[in-house]
């Protein structure tokens, strides 16, 4: 209950932040402009519209998640409002979890808003609602959930500026998981070892990059539902690891 109360307060606070609202408005505007590539053939227009729409949601989601995640705990410490919270019968883990859930709810609201506009634009242009696009938006959300957990973990010991670059850098490296995966079979033992460590220890954001299959659904996986379920489970498990680490670090931290 305490966790949910903290989460609700965090959500309300985040939705009042102008920077996040501006990002949302810009993203929605860019999605709405998607049909302006109508000078291409219908199939090409559809591909470009979907790829650009999913890209905008990803980039906007990335910025919103990082900006929200790096600030939720440090802001409370800077303003000293954390003392008020922790002086009450609130466990530190409840605080961390509440902040994470509040941040996650913020990201959910933002991505849902962009997703609704995106699906609306597709429906307006093509008169049908491809299920793959709903999957794409959902996968972006789970990707951002993992990213948010990482930002929360770093925020327990790093400053917001350091956290921003660290989270962004790990996101970029994590997106190149297909590269690290291919290097795990490299002949050079040092490269192979490093690639294996990177591939299995760093969060693999590249797992969620399935725009290819979503935009070109004729290119089928053997079992897409299982693949998506495995990805969601991966995101939940890794997020849990990061949150547990955050709890351990924050528990020892002097505020």
């Amino acid at each position: 209950m305490v966790t949910m109360a903290i989460a609700k307060q965090t959500l309300e606070d985040m939705l009042r932040r102008k920077i996040l609202l501006i990002l949302l408005i810009v993203a929605v505007g860019m999605i709405a402009l998607g049909p302006s590539v109508g000078f291409l053939s219908p199939r090409e227009s559809s591909v470009v519209l979907k790829s650009l729409g999913l890209a905008v949601i990803l980039i906007a989601g990335l910025l919103i998640t990082i900006l929200a995640g790096i600030q939720v705990i440090p802001t409370e410490i800077e303003r000293r409002t954390i003392y008020t919270v922790l002086s009450k019968p609130v466990q530190r883990f409840e605080f961390v979890l509440g902040k994470f859930l509040g941040g996650l709810a913020t990201v959910f609201v933002m991505i849902a808003a962009m997703g609704i506009v995106f699906l609306g634009v597709i429906y307006w242009q093509q008169h049908n609602l491809p299920r793959e696009m709903v999957t794409g938006v959902a996968m972006t959300f789970f990707q951002m959930m993992l990213l948010g957990a990482m930002a929360i973990f770093f925020s327990t010991f790093a400053t917001p500026v350091v956290n921003f670059f660290l989270t962004f850098a790990i996101f970029m490296v994590g997106n190149m998981s297909s590269v690290t995966e291919s290097l795990t079979s490299n002949k050079n033992p040092a490269t192979k070892l490093l690639a294996t460590v990177l591939h299995y220890i760093l969060p693999n954001f590249g797992n969620f990059n399935i725009q290819n299959k979503l935009i070109h659904p004729e290119q089928t996986l053997s079992n897409p539902s299982v693949f998506i379920f495995q990805n969601i489970v991966y995101a939940i498990i890794y997020s849990a690891i990061l949150l547990l680490l955050a709890i351990l670090v924050f528990d020892r931290r002097e505020v």
Partner: protein
């Protein structure tokens, strides 16, 4: 936090870490399947596009690049499009239209001042499409395009047939993304046409009968479907026309003008019209009045092909009607006794040229290579044109010159003069000509004869595809002749058998270096 709680949390972290490692291991093969065909294209991207792929936005960057490429196309900057085609297909190997449009650019849009295609790009176009097929085997679009290019541009009806078969067996997503239906009927229609082009008439007729059956079954379920009715009518018309032509050319010649007034129908297996007097003679010049006319191809037609002035035909050391009054400007004329509308194909190419099969797609071409190809219309039994290649030095470099090649300095002048720098090939293939000319000659030139240049091209599928009778005349040329320094004479003509041997040697050399890209 109590120490016990910390320990429990650490233990949970270890267990979860092992769990996520296991799930990652399970995901890896599926992710490899998803990204099959993609390549990291970062090195070729400009700054504003590099961040995209690094954030996992390959498809969005590919889309943005393709929009940019479309702008270049409308500005006429065709050279700028090619690297973008490469980049987009690396980033998103499932954008079918990029492969198809890119191949079309390569095959059709690089031209000389007279809009003759630069044929050096055709192997690249084929390889691009083949790469597209390797990454998109489910759908018909790319194999159909391969079939079409082989029909329209390359005139290789064998390969066209192979690709149309692949296309007709593939699926279609034309109804919308995610929907997979059977390939459209026109893939089958083109398959039938490609078989007809190879003079495999019975097989072509079987395809028409098959698709007609499928269309009629579809129409029976939905009798008011206008587009299916149109398709049915078109298929029926094509089948009847094919059978009529076969009957007329090889059984009894049909008068197609009278036919429309006298015929009530045709036998769907043999093409024999009813009533039978549709193919009986009404003119004593054709044969006994009232008797069935003989097959059209049994009346031998002397095409009298030549590139020698009329007054010199049959004389020793005759001059030719091929002159280079200025360097690289060829004025060529000839005689060909066929109906207006036939076309004489002409190709001037390096002596060591053979159309390569590329292992990997590249739009880099050998700039020192020269190949010019055109088709000249016959009017009132004559054909000819002035072909000015001097205005396009990049396309027509004519860099081969054995007489001045330092690597050949050990040879005498006489020996060097025997070395061909170029071949000028003039030919007429009845298989690619208009139907009304084929009505006289047959699909394989059976009704055609020529005192000088008739050549039988042996079938590569004996028993399946008949031999083909073509008209061909080949000149061996030297650099000095192209530059107008020396004249082209009939002494430069080489026998067709010799030219075939040369081409076979080139083909063998080429086969030794690359593997085939057939499906």
């Amino acid at each position: 936090m109590k120490q016990q709680t910390r320990s429990a949390i650490l233990a949970a972290i270890v267990v979860l870490a092992l769990g996520q490692g296991f799930i990652q291991h399970v995901l890896d093969p599926q992710i490899r399947e998803i990204h099959k065909g993609e390549k990291t294209a970062l090195a070729g991207l400009s700054n504003e596009f590099i961040l995209g792929p690094m954030l996992g936005l390959q498809q969005a960057v590919a889309g943005a690049l393709w929009v940019r490429a479309d702008e270049f196309f409308h500005e006429g900057d065709y050279d700028a499009i090619l690297p973008m085609v490469r980049m987009v297909t690396w980033l998103d190997p499932h954008q079918l239209d990029v492969y198809i449009t890119g191949a079309w650019h390569l095959s059709y849009n690089f031209t000389d001042s007279n809009e003759r295609s630069d044929r050096r790009y055709i192997p690249a176009a084929q390889r691009l499409l083949e790469e597209g097929y390797e990454n998109n085997k489910t759908l018909y679009d790319i194999p159909f395009e391969l079939g079409w290019e082989n029909t329209d541009k390359i005139k290789d009806y064998d390969r066209a047939e192979t690709w149309f078969r692949v296309a007709s067996a593939a699926k279609s997503s034309d109804a919308g993304p995610g929907t997979l239906a059977d390939s459209p009927m026109f893939t089958w229609h083109q398959l039938a046409h490609s078989l007809e082009r190879q003079a495999r008439i019975d097989e072509a007729a079987d395809i028409w009968r098959k698709v007609l059956g499928l269309t009629e079954a579809r129409l029976a379920k939905n009798p008011t479907d206008f587009s299916t009715k149109n398709v049915r009518d078109s298929e029926r018309h094509n089948l009847e026309l094919l059978l009529k032509r076969k009957f007329s050319r090889y059984t009894h010649e049909i008068d197609f003008e009278l036919d429309a007034k006298r015929t009530t129908g045709i036998n769907p297996q043999t093409g024999e019209p009813t009533p039978k007097d549709s193919f009986t003679s009404t003119d004593p010049k054709e044969g006994p009045v009232g008797q069935p006319r003989p097959p059209a191809v049994t009346k031998p037609w002397n095409t009298a092909f030549n590139t020698v002035p009329l007054e010199q035909i049959g004389k020793p050391r005759a001059t030719t009607t091929i002159t280079f009054d200025k360097p690289k400007v060829m004025d060529i004329k000839g005689l060909f006794s066929v109906g207006d509308g036939a076309r004489v194909a002409i190709r001037l190419h390096d002596a060591d040229w053979y159309e390569p099969t590329l292992k990997d797609f590249t739009f880099d071409i050998d700039q020192s290579q020269t190949i010019m190809q055109d088709a000249l219309s016959v009017r009132s039994r004559t054909w000819g044109r002035k072909i000015d290649m001097s205005r396009d030095p990049k396309m027509y470099s004519f860099s081969k010159d054995a007489a001045n090649d330092p690597k050949l300095k050990k040879l005498s002048d006489a020996e060097r003069k025997k070395i061909a720098d170029y071949y000028l090939v003039l030919w007429f293939d009845p298989r690619g000509t208009s139907p009304f000319i084929q009505d006289k000659f047959g699909w394989s030139g059976e009704g055609m004869t020529d005192p000088g240049y008739l050549w039988v091209v042996k079938s590569n599928k004996p028993g399946i595809k008949p031999d083909n009778r073509i008209i061909r005349k080949v000149y061996r040329l030297r650099h000095a002749q192209i530059m107008g320094i020396e004249k082209v004479t009939e002494d430069d003509v080489i026998p067709n058998a010799e030219y075939d041997r040369i081409q076979e040697d080139m083909a063998a050399k080429h086969r030794a270096t690359v593997s085939t890209n057939e499906p």
